[in-house]
């Protein structure tokens, strides 16, 4: 029996398609002849069969290194740039890392047990095996979990969607490509025959949008928080992508409507995906939530059900395991991943109401902050909001909301807007969910993973 054919990233990078590029704010690299080049200066053979930690400062070199390491190393752990240095030792042990690919060799000088390979900017690498792709969860506290994927699983949704219609897409994402949401977009660009424009940490949003325009970006993804930030910046005018995708957080009606007003020519879709559960589904009807008829098995073989209020997913796109000595089981005994994302059926659609772990407790009553934010965000005067608990000597805690007003909204109207928001909250939410206070703020923190920072969650 001949071994099963292994597909790797380099199989999608032939010289046949001309003019493909990947770029960041500083350089443009051709994807058409990338296979002839190496950022590992031909040393990839030393990585054969090893467990490689990919810890490179910038996304562009990470992207090139991924195409070289896939199919050569036994496994490859992608490190996002904000990885806490205190967690590195644990992660190295858990993932049995024996090689580090980095652009900062001195940082790894103490590590004698593994090979450290520096990357400045050869020989052609050959596929030897199916590399295991390891990614880190984006939880806010503690050591992140290591999640094991295969390239086949990671690309399941992309292959199922088939090639984009029309001219080859130029993809961009607000995410870092070493996180699940960003990696999906990088893989879409590689597999779909397109090009890719990377985000740049700290780059002003207007400069980023100018770069997206200059490189002709047609398809772009980000979290609802990323998108609200773009809409707030005023930089969206003059940018007209064909496809706008949201994932990673709940896409409420307000942000979907805001995007369709800002990009009237674009199709706008929100996708459900997580590092553990993989890509679940995409919704393209412009409405928040998803039709209840999507539960069950869809045509791509993704099975979804609701149990104890949360979405459960079983498919070939989910991760196969958590990796490490004390790793918990990733799926239940039937192979379903519990996403921890809580759903509520309203009419014939399911709506995401929040994270199981993100519930705030108000005098013994449970509240999902996202549910309150969705009501507040519906106001035309509001761009973004965050509900959170505030300690109270009387009830233990109360709900308060921080609200960013939409551009051009006269701050002298704040009392009137506050009243309007509170009236709507009282009409639509149970009394313990109505914010006790509404504070107008000019910014809200976004985490490195592009999600609204929730300190009390």
């Amino acid at each position: 029996m001949s071994p099963r054919e292994i597909f790797t990233l380099r199989d999608y990078l032939g010289p046949e398609l001309k003019g493909r590029t990947i770029s960041d704010a500083r350089q443009v690299v051709s994807l058409t002849d990338i296979l002839g080049k190496s950022c590992l200066v031909g040393r990839f053979r030393e990585l054969s069969g090893r467990s490689v930690l990919l810890a490179v400062t910038d996304q562009l070199i990470s992207a090139i290194a991924m195409t070289e390491i896939d199919g050569v190393a036994r496994r490859m752990l992608l490190c996002p740039p904000d990885l806490n240095a205190d967690h590195v030792k644990t992660l190295i042990e858990d993932a049995e890392i024996d090689a580090v690919v980095t652009d900062q060799p001195p940082r790894w000088a103490d590590a004698e047990e593994y090979l450290v390979m520096a990357v400045p900017a050869g020989t052609k690498a050959k596929t030897e095996r199916a590399t295991e792709w390891l990614m880190l969860t984006s939880g806010t506290s503690g050591v992140p979990k290591i999640v094991g994927h295969t390239l086949e699983g990671l690309t399941g949704a992309i292959v199922a969607d088939g090639p984009a219609r029309g001219a080859p897409p130029v993809w961009a994402t607000f995410y870092d490509i070493r996180r699940y949401g960003g990696l999906q977009i990088f893989l879409r660009a590689i597999i779909g025959g397109g090009s890719m424009v990377l985000s740049e940490p700290g780059e002003p949003i207007a400069d980023y949008v100018a770069r997206l325009n200059a490189r002709g970006v047609t398809h772009i993804s980000g979290t609802p928080s990323h998108w609200r930030k773009l809409l707030m910046s005023g930089a969206a005018s003059g940018f007209s992508p064909r496809y706008v995708r949201l994932s990673g957080e709940i896409a409420d009606q307000a942000v979907l409507d805001g995007l369709s007003r800002a990009f009237p020519e674009a199709s706008i879709g929100h996708a459900y995906a997580s590092t553990e559960a993989g890509v679940g589904f995409a919704v393209n009807d412009g409405l928040e939530g998803f039709p209840a008829s999507m539960l069950g098995t869809n045509r791509d073989g993704v099975e979804m059900k609701v149990e104890d209020g949360s979405l459960r997913i079983r498919s070939t796109r989910t991760a196969h395991a958590y990796v490490g000595r004390d790793a918990a089981a990733l799926t239940d005994s039937d192979g379903f991943v519990d996403t921890g994302d809580m759903l509520e059926l309203r009419g014939d659609r399911y709506h995401f109401v929040g994270r199981r772990g993100g519930i705030i407790n108000i005098g013994g009553l449970k509240v999902h902050p996202e549910e309150i934010e969705a009501v507040i965000n519906r106001h035309a005067e509001v761009r973004m909001s965050r509900a959170r608990s505030r300690r109270s000597p009387i009830t233990g805690s109360i709900v308060v909301a921080d609200v960013i007003l939409a551009d051009g909204c006269d701050p002298s109207r704040s009392d009137e807007i506050r009243e309007k928001i509170l009236t709507d909250c009282r009409a639509q939410l149970a009394s313990h969910k109505v914010p006790a206070m509404i504070k107008f703020v000019t910014s809200l923190d976004i985490t490195a993973a592009g999600k609204l920072a929730r300190h009390d969650a």
């Binding site: 005098g363 505030r390 300690r391 109270s392 000597p393 009387i394 009830t395 109360i398 308060v400 509170l422 009394s431 313990h432 006790a436 206070m437």
Partner: protein, 81 residues
Amino acid sequence: MSIRLKIISEMQRIAAEQQVTLPPLNDDLSLHETGFDSLGFAILVARLEDDLGIDPFTISEDAAFPLTVGDFVRAYENVPA
């Protein structure tokens, strides 16, 4: 505006929001008779903390919660500046 006036006007505002009809707020009125529930008081204490910068009920662990409107106002007036 004195602390007392601030407290009274904030109570009137919350009463309007919560659709509570306040009786005349004299010092002897028990807090129970104001018609505020515990959430109403929690909101009041939080807003006063933002406004005045003090929360007399958290500062001291053993501070007894006041029984009357007069006690409540004095709890704020007696916090050392």
